[in-house]
Subunit: 153 residues, 3 copies
């Protein structure tokens, strides 16, 4: 339980894995690749951050939202895998930042998520990444992040 130990060291308590409220599932596996559905900043059933960066939300709030998205990614992966040590690599993140059309720091928002993955998984947590803004997100969430995770074969 190496990753669980690491979470403890970092004093991170995973939120409960968000349940999809609709006709999709949190993760789906193809070969060794685990596709994780886009996660928004829910914490234990409550949307913690809604509103746009550049007006309603600060950069710091959006970074916090990005971290919660990543914890949800880990939480749904854990629910599916049972044991987080089955994760070989975080392969890719795609991040969407709900923002005003003048907010050009989406990469700095999602970098908080990337940093957190590195702290938890070390080199295995370093990933390819695409970050863009969007004019709106489901439930007006501030950030949405999806992931592709490589599992131990």
């Amino acid at each position: 339980m190496i990753i669980e130990q690491k979470l403890k060291e970092l004093q991170i308590v995973l939120p409960e894995a968000p349940k999809p409220a609709a006709m999709y599932i949190p993760v789906k596996q193809i070969g060794n690749a685990l596709f994780v559905s886009g996660q928004i900043p829910f914490r234990n059933g409550e949307l913690v951050y809604s509103g746009k960066v550049g007006s309603e939300r600060s950069l710091e709030e959006a970074q916090d939202a990005a971290e919660i998205c990543v914890l949800n990614i880990i939480a749904v992966a854990k629910e599916y895998l049972g044991n987080l040590d089955k994760i070989k690599n975080v392969t890719k993140l795609q991040g969407f930042v709900n923002s005003e059309a003048t907010f050009n720091k989406a990469h700095i928002v999602v970098n908080a998520a990337s940093k957190l993955l590195y702290e938890i998984f070390g080199e295995a947590g370093r990933h390819a990444r695409t970050v863009v803004c969007t004019n709106e997100l489901p439930l007006d969430a501030t950030v949405e992040i999806e992931a592709i995770i490589e599992l131990i074969g």
Copy 2:
């Protein structure tokens, strides 16, 4: 021809597979994964839904557009595979909803696509999903959806 039979039961007639008007192809395979290009609501050569949700289009119209996108995904997969029974799983959808910056129900739009996949493919049709809004789409289409499909090995 299990899936074709299911389509008949559901009284679904697949549209003709949209031809890319440009330098890309509708699907490309890597291993058992079939990447399907983003589909917009074309039906037999005509764009059925353009315009933004939250002003020019209703939620119901956008849901209908999402269903047409999914039928196009199935149509281009069929054109490539010959037989839809070669599909093992729908792994992932990514949906983009052309909307006003205040429309926070993109997930409900794309859920119509997810439901339709479940009706057609059953459990194999349940997928991971990411849905976001966008301020505009090619040809001002109302919805665009791409897919990753797992093929029988």
Copy 3:
């Protein structure tokens, strides 16, 4: 060195591979699939195109930006692979065009990237593709493109 030869014939000099300024990496491999991080129009350390299409940037400028993104995709792949002849296929592009909410030609922007890939890689360069607009991009870049590349097994 077939692809290097082809680049010479086309008189294309690859830019230096952009270094991520943050906690992610330019590419990450899973099996034979190489995920390339979203590239923006940097050329040798300088962002060549910023600003939105439909107001601050013309269609032609955005197409030029899309070509630079693709050259950066090739540059980071080369840095990782050493030899571009290890590329079997360009599987998928995802393109984001920073635009006004009325600009409905994002597909024509990113088609310049698709054309360039076809010129360089021939049939192997033909790919599945998703193109959308976005209200903003990191650093106000005009275009961002990510890729999935299949490597020779």
